[in-house]
Amino acid sequence: MLEGKHGRGARKAMEILVAYGECYSAERMIPVTSVHIAGNYPVLMDEGIEWLEDLAQGGTKVSVYTTKNPEMFDFEDWEELKVPEMYQERQRRIDAVLRSLEVTLTYSCHHYLLGNVPRFGDHIAWASSGSQVYANSVIGARSNRDGDHVALAAAITGVIPEWGMHLTENRRGQVVVETERLNLEGFTTADYQAIGWVVGKIVGDKIPVFVHLPADSAIHNIKGILYTLTVTGAVGLVHLVGITPEAPTLEAAFGGTVRPLDRISIAQKDIDQAYREISFSSEEKVDIVMFGCPQCSIQEVQEIAALLEGRKIHPDTELWICTSNWVKTLSKRMGIYNRIRAAGGRIVADVGAADGPHLYLRERGIKTVAINSARGSYYAHGIFGMDTWFGSTQELVQTAISGKWEGNR
């Protein structure tokens, strides 16, 4: 491939992988079974689209199942969402280049609900820090924190350098995380995200091992911890003892070796402090309430619909439920879609709540966002300059109805 016998794109891809592998002293390339790529327009920008178009020149194609993260707007509802022409043009260019690369056009960050389901022990390349840590920690597949460039290179060549998370010896736990001082029974999914926020800041790139989470913890709470840990830390794998396939016991999480361990214990005051750090607004009036970072599952859509039942959202506030086209279609079939519409909200497919609609929302004067995702709050503020409030799903629904921030922290 390096000689260019498989085309220019394959050569460029292999050059990236070789250099990347060399910097980690990888000894060989290993086959990947699944790839997920992330960048949308606000991330790629014009320079990134040009880079992709150049890569696709000469008929470059992916060689393994490759899915794509959300874009900026719903391909079916661009008119209603009043998406400016410039952004439409950019998103359609990205769509065209991905189609030519033969990427599966899911535009979703819950691709593991859409058939991109690796098996335990599979080597994969998922370029989305949240779903990557999900793959390692919940599925037990093996992915490094590969950026889009590496993941695309893996999709094209079918291989990845063997280093880091692909090797068993690097998957052992390093820091024990105790949560016994917290009253987890009363915790919302937002509270679980606050745990992730705190732990990520402390552990950096070390592998945390949670020892007190109930084995029947709801998947949304587990995702809350995992997706937030990657925002404040460089964490690729979290052992949740009794939940993570490789960590049925504390000993297994540490690879069977008992040695002196770093230990941290989270207190309620850490959680309260995290809430103060995750909200970046002091504006009482809320312009938009957003759910779906990561994109809402059908269960989450159902939960929001139930909370909205028989109520109307404030005329000066919008409510968006961001999800995949698949969940939107399901919600139509189940009648939930119309119930959300009747309450004044909308289900928006192909976007995530921190994935770029903010660019055009801001242009029509929307500034203050309430969101039930710590990750979404951090990126909506950091990338798009929004004023953000972070709270639970219940608080957000209440906020949408009154038009004012209703969080109690």
């Binding site: 990236i16 910097c23 989305s128 950096g204 990657t230 460089a234 503020h381 950091g382 990338i383």
Partner: protein, 136 residues
């Protein structure tokens, strides 16, 4: 002048004024590609530009979309000239690879202790060393 052995991540030579962070850096959300200014609230380098500098920091963090941000910053002339990490991590390494930015890591001495803001630093990623001239 001090010369320290280092492990190359990419190739090439770069020299310039050092800017040092003891905190990890996220290019996504943490750096403005239009100016090269670090904008993460509470970050040690908040409000300071890394454009055209030799950027010294422990490692990358945050979203894996960081290499696109770095690529755009590079195309707009606002990326650092060279990178020294304590330990290379994927996002920063790929950013350096796709932009041809000279980058080294795993220095024989801790770069966060030997290098201060304003020192003149030369990275030789072809031969694997860093030279430091202290700013008096």
């Amino acid at each position: 002048m001090m010369k320290i052995k280092a492990k190359p991540v990419t190739a090439g030579v770069a020299e310039g004024e050092a800017i040092v962070s003891h905190m990890a850096i996220s290019f996504t959300g943490g750096m403005d590609p239009d100016t090269g200014i670090i904008k993460e609230p509470g970050h040690e380098l908040e409000g300071k530009s890394v454009a055209g500098k030799i950027l010294v920091f422990p490692m990358g963090k945050g979203s894996t979309t960081g290499s696109w941000q770095f690529y755009a910053a590079f195309k707009r002339g606002n990326s650092p000239k060279g990178i020294i990490n304590v330990k290379a991590e994927g996002i920063v390494a790929v950013s350096a690879i796709i932009t041809g930015t000279p980058m080294v890591h795993q220095l024989e001495n801790d770069p966060l202790e030997c290098i201060n803001n304003g020192d003149f630093v030369k990275i030789n990623a072809d031969e694997g060393y860093v030279e430091i001239e202290k700013n008096k």
